[in-house]
Amino acid sequence: MTATVTTPRTRRVRVPGKRAVLPWLFLAPGLLLALVFKFVPMGKGVWLSFFEVRPFLGDQWVGLDNYTRVLTDHRFQDAVGHTLLLGIGQSLGAIVVGFVLALLLEGQARSLKVIRAAVFLPVVTATAVVGELWRLMYYPTSDGLVNSALGFLGLGPTPFLDNPDTALWATMVMGIWMVAPYNMVIILAGLAGVDRTLYEASAMDGVSLRQRLRYVTLPAIRPAIGIVLTLAAIRGLRVFTEVYVLTGGGPAGSTEVWMTRAYTLGFTRNDIGGASAASVVLLAVTLLLTVTVNYFRKRGDVR
């Protein structure tokens, strides 16, 4: 392999023969792993979604039955609402909180750097650890951490995760907590690109702080925010681990999202066909949305 390149040909050329094989040798491990562990499962999932999967009896073709069953199932329909609410609420909340954090912690001082590093901790922590932490912080009696903070403000103890009315919101708050510092870093990078003389000039012109944020700061970070927000919302549609470790979909299905429902269907009720159909629907929706977003983004770049 290495012997072939000792010819004094200096440009990377498209010559048929051994040179043309080379890139494929480098690509082979990656392509093989992607094929076996990503694309084959995807194909298999699409295939199985048309069958009633019966171990030892042989699979039976059922056409679109799995899809109609999943799409008409009221628990899946409830899950759509929860998934959308969680995905959109979490992404929006994380952007807003991330923006506030960035404005607060912008600067070169050493103390600010230390604070930023500390605030960033939730991002590097594994979701399962975050889930255990928040489970205890949401402890329903008045000596739970969040409840004692609320008690300090004069609010009564809330059984956050045990109450169907609050569990989804509690999950959303945890999600925002995990992602906001990540957005903070992205927004800080955008803020660093703002020309400092513009701040000075706006001060000379006597514009208010709000106008300064609106006309000088926001335009500089808008490109970054727009794309982060859309992609995060799309990614939010396939949320699983946060919900699974924090509430497991409960209480009474009030935090059931699309993927936890599909997981229950596939692994605890052994309905492989139905679970595959649910996954294919999710995959199709996220793919479609991502392609659309990227299309508009490219068009926006050209203009």
Partner: protein, 317 residues
Amino acid sequence: MSAPALDPVRTPSDQVSARPSKRSGTSARTTPARFDTALGWHDRPGVSWALRILLCAIALGIFAAPFLTILSGALSTHPSGSSLSFLPHDSTLLNFRVAGERGIWDYFTNSLVIAGGGLLLQLTVCVLAAYALARHKFRGQAIIMTLFMLTMMLPEEVIAIPLSLVLGHVPVVGVDLKGTVWGVILPLGAWGFSVMLLTEFMKDIPDEIEEAARLDGVGELRMLWQVILPLCKPALGVAGVLGFIMIWDQYLLPLIAAKDPTDYTVTVALSILRTDPEVGSGVVLAGAVIALVPSLVVYLLLQRSLVTGIAAGATKG
């Protein structure tokens, strides 16, 4: 929002403190410190300064203090652990001992093997692929790039059910990977994000360097190992730290790749401790501390790479 009522722009006469603005790029001109930030924070004692300290304290309380409660809870003898505080009641290592008896160190070893092996495989695979994509021209290049990008659209959650079938019986070779670390490591090998990041970086290496090396008769593998890779160190740092965090965060994959609970990683095993009626939340928190430490170490060591990586990923996306 917390946009405070600090409107410094109306008094432009008090700009006495001037220091060089480090970030104004090309110009070496000096601007007052408070034009350094969007909100115009003052960096000397005053109302704005005090307000900022207060808000910073609140931010720290919300985002960082909960980690202290994990630690103090894990060190407390308090059996129920329902009341978390920032300082342990009576420090003790009992919780860690109990967690150890429940096999937490075995889970931890599983995690370390998976994280180490997975990261090594992932970096190798992604570097090789990126080298081909960035430094060679071949037919179908755009399609291959799209394929790698597509892998990012196929996270374990979406393909969990068929993936668990594939892990039980890998096509063509017919091996059963379930219950082995390979069941977790191999699916993490081809990571589209890492491939793209490294490809972008390698593309920026000037052709002249490569041509000079080729004239010296350097072969392909040596070219990659001795010429290209040393120039990619920043990108490798980013891919390494993000890859580690991504692997350590895996939850569903170790869950479906396990044959029985002894195959779990430490993050998945936390739920075993939690549902164990004989141990209290102090032991769960001890487990959480153990699961937290490696991410903390990696983060503190490679913090700079991580931050640049996230910022770059956002703009290049």
